[in-house]
Symmetry: C3
Subunit: 150 residues, 3 copies
């Protein structure tokens, strides 16, 4: 069995990249708020009233940011869990750290090319696909390691 002490460098690597991804995830809320305020489009009548805008659900800039946000929700919590479970299988430290780092960087790039600077495909597809494959890889490693136990 792997020993998961907080002094373990792989555990610390998981902690740092998980925290970075959490801050990246919640920063999209601020991006949405800024886009709503600068464009004067809101989802709730009380917001539109206070900020002198209008209620509008199809502003293309705001909706792009919201899609990037939803894509984060579909991917980042699954990373937090699969990454933590993957740690329990005792992976090689340098390899696991590399996976966490590539995961985090790719998801940051995904937000940039989706919500900030829309680029032609396959930019967003690659930034989605690499971390997506990393999640499948970690999930299979976990399943194979423990499957005899269930």
């Amino acid at each position: 069995m792997a020993v998961l002490a907080l002094s373990n460098p792989v555990v610390q690597s998981y902690i740092v990249y998980s925290a970075i991804l959490a801050l990246k995830l919640i920063s999209v809320s601020t991006m949405t708020a800024i886009a709503r305020m600068t464009r004067g489009v809101f989802a709730n009548p009380e917001d539109a009233k206070t900020l002198k805008g209008k209620v509008k659900f199809d502003d293309p800039v705001v909706e792009r940011i919201r899609r990037a946000h939803l894509n984060d929700l579909e991917n980042i919590p699954a990373f937090w869990v699969l990454g933590a479970l993957y740690l329990t299988t005792g992976p090689v430290a340098a390899w696991a750290t590399l996976l966490f780092r590539v995961y985090a960087v790719s998801r940051i790039v995904h937000t940039i090319v989706y919500a900030l600077i829309p680029l032609p495909q396959p930019a967003r597809g690659i930034a989605f696909g690499i971390p997506y494959i990393i999640k499948w890889y970690m999930g299979f490693q976990v399943a194979m390691y423990y499957i005899s136990a269930v």
Copy 2:
């Protein structure tokens, strides 16, 4: 206090079903991508351009899969947390393993009857309701176990 070693069979059961649910959750992204590509409907102009489809937000098949996906996001992360916290209350191993197993199977059935093979109600209602009740049960067990501490 419960001892939560990785060699504990309940902990291993939690790990396996959490990993399965994570892979199930992210597999809906692939289902959405396949539906978008076969039907030629996309959410972003750059996707529509590259894949020679059109931008459309109300395709019934794609939207069903997206609703199934959102329902996963509303339920599976809460299971990850409640299941892990429930482990700390030292539940009977066979009972906790049964709950995790029923939870995972029901959520897989939920995706099938929602996104893949739409069935008449109450098929989806049951596949939603059973794991929903399991989450409430685990949450109450955790609250009752620790509430004196806060």
Copy 3:
């Protein structure tokens, strides 16, 4: 390194508030279901058929609750992770417990003023902003504590 025993009061505080937030999060599903049934508006044809309502995607009451739900998904899983990682930095017990408590109470107030009793701004803005700042604070504490390790 911090020692994270389940007997540690800060850990128990994290567990209780995380469980409360999970139950709060999933209770919004029930609020949505009640609103759909009392107003007869559903997202799926099989639901509308069984419950003798109609398919409608722009009912203002149901959509407000759904926005409150999505806002929870954008914030509560990030709290679960950042709170757990923050515990590993060995925070002062009374301070960490206060943060968790204020976080949980604010998110409950957020749901009330968003989904149950719509209040004029800045009620919802404050109920969103306080826990949002707490997440940034915890994330920075974690990053600063571990950043030398990566």
